[in-house]
């Protein structure tokens, strides 16, 4: 425990000693706020249009059912927030392993009493902690939409869980990319590419009518449908298992990067 505690403390000091952590946190909150207020503005405009066209004021019966806070603000905000995370999370994960390699401090780490498993575990733990903090900060606006829209606390928890699981899965992918290179640029670009590629394969389904198994496979590896289920307030074990699975596979791949360096040099 002493060893891993020392590593976690070092990682936290390096992370929060760098301006990057604060920049990323600011960016997440700023973008979440912009997305939220943009959709809220659009929602208000739609309400105003209905008011103008019907001349009936803001009476509930003059507004169609599909124009509500949930469908017009909350769901699109969550959708855009998910896409934003694919862009932002790799900015924090890119340096975690790659910077150690480029500075040569990875050799210092592996010659201490820390085992390779402890090194990977410590780095994953600190990155996950940062991601949860970032999600808490970015969740203020969606939470307002949920509470003001009367969607309920249970739904709020489900959405937060979905957002956090998505962010942790993206962080895991980013950490793997960082573990396999000494270039932070390669790590961040690879993380973006994998994140966007895994985001949504539903567009492929119409082309795969003859190959249902293949269509199911692509649907199965897509993040978006699983994330959307949480946004709808449904906590599904299969979807949870998917995100946990991504984290476990990522951990194993990051761990093997350390072994590979001993073999390949």
């Amino acid at each position: 425990m002493t060893r891993i505690r020392a590593l976690i403390w070092k990682e936290l000091t390096v992370l929060f000693g760098s301006p990057l952590a604060y920049l990323v946190l600011t960016l997440v909150v700023l973008v979440a706020g912009l997305i939220f207020f943009d959709h809220l503005r659009a929602y208000n405009q739609i309400l105003f249009l209905f008011q103008s066209s019907t001349m009936g004021g803001f009476e509930t019966d003059t507004i169609p059912d599909h124009v509500n806070l949930r469908d017009t603000v909350f769901f699109p905000v969550m959708e855009n927030l998910g896409l934003t995370l694919i862009a932002v999370i790799p900015m924090i994960t890119m340096r975690v392993f790659a910077e150690e390699r480029s500075r040569g401090t990875d050799e210092l780490l592996v010659t201490t009493h820390l085992s390779p498993n402890e090194i990977v575990l410590g780095k994953f733990a600190v990155t996950y902690f940062f991601v949860v903090v970032a999600m808490l900060a970015s969740f203020v606006y969606p939470a307002m939409a949920i509470l003001q829209g009367g969607i309920g606390l249970q739904h709020l928890l489900s959405v937060f869980m979905g957002l956090t699981m998505l962010a942790l899965a993206l962080a895991s992918i980013g950490l793997v990319c960082s573990a396999w290179t000494s270039s932070q640029l390669i790590a961040v670009v690879a993380s973006w590419a994998i994140g966007y590629v895994l985001w949504d394969w539903s567009w492929l389904t119409p082309f795969l009518r003859e190959a249902e198994a293949l269509a199911r496979f692509f649907d199965g590896i897509s993040m978006h449908p699983r994330y959307s289920t949480f946004a709808e307030g449904i906590v599904n074990l299969a979807n949870l298992a998917y995100f946990v699975g991504v984290a476990i596979v990522a951990y194993a791949l990051a761990r093997s990067a350390l072994d590979w360096k001993r073999i390949a040099g």
């Binding site: 020392a6 000091t13 500075r103 085992s115």
Partner: protein, 251 residues
């Protein structure tokens, strides 16, 4: 035996450990970095590993530290293999890498606390070890400063200090004065001279004066092969020791 988590009952610090290589080879693709090396370094010995750039010195110490795996051959550190018993080997060694490979964004004392914690020191034992190395390597004036703001000489001292926190019986130092000015070189050599006797020291260098000053026995490598080995004075005492660096036999 190979479990990383396994603790060793014979962990008590000794005056030094034996390092032994038998037929040790390391290839990078088709490039042979180390070619059937046989070497024996006795406990408490200050051993110089010499050779031109690319001779295989750093490869050898990376194999000893377990950073790299050998392509073939055997390697033992105090009877433990860095391949299958890397945890036991790591407990016995302190490693100072070629350039100051330490965290510029940590303060000296914080970095030493981390390095001590990573070597299982905690509480009063950790604080005492940190103060001991700060005192031993004359880091009192810079203990609160960022490592990135220190001169190369001080960074090298910090690097040496972290390797000594757990008082390891084996100290491996790779090109400790590379890139330093003459005054800083002298400072680092003084520090290393003070360590002789209580530890096995493997000093990797291409500086002949440094080797003569600091080591009692030396080996010269050329393109991964052992060209000469013996007491440092004898190995480097010929009319043209640079012949060895070129891979030619001693005169």
């Amino acid at each position: 035996m190979s479990s990383e988590a396994q603790t060793d009952s014979s962990d008590a610090p000794t005056p030094g450990v034996r390092v032994e290589a038998r037929g040790l080879c390391r290839n990078f693709g088709t490039h042979v970095a180390l070619d059937t090396l046989d070497l024996r370094i006795e406990p408490g010995q200050a051993f110089g590993l010499l050779g031109a750039n690319g001779a295989g010195k750093t490869t050898f110490i990376r194999l000893v530290t377990g950073v790299l795996l050998p392509s073939s051959g055997e390697l033992w550190v105090d009877g433990h293999s860095p391949v299958t018993e890397s945890a036991q080997v790591r407990r016995r060694l302190g490693y100072v890498a070629e350039t100051s490979r330490i965290y510029p964004d940590l303060r000296v004392r914080s970095f030493l606390r981390f390095a001590g914690g990573a070597r299982e020191l905690n509480g009063a034992e950790l604080e005492s070890a940190v103060e001991r190395v700060i005192d031993r390597f004359h880091l009192e004036d810079v203990a609160g400063r960022w490592i990135g703001q220190l001169s190369k000489g001080f960074q090298q001292r910090v690097s040496l200090a972290q390797a000594f926190l757990h008082d390891p019986p084996l100290l491996i130092v790779d090109e400790p004065t590379s890139g330093l000015d003459p005054l800083q070189q002298q400072e680092v050599r003084d520090v290393l001279r003070g360590l002789r006797g209580n530890h096995t020291l493997i000093l990797c260098t291409h500086d002949l004066t440094e080797a003569q000053e600091l080591t009692e026995r030396a080996a010269v490598l050329h393109r991964g092969r052992l060209v000469a080995e013996g007491p440092t004075g004898e190995v480097l005492g010929g009319t043209d020791p640079l012949r060895l660096f070129r891979g030619e036999a001693a005169a």
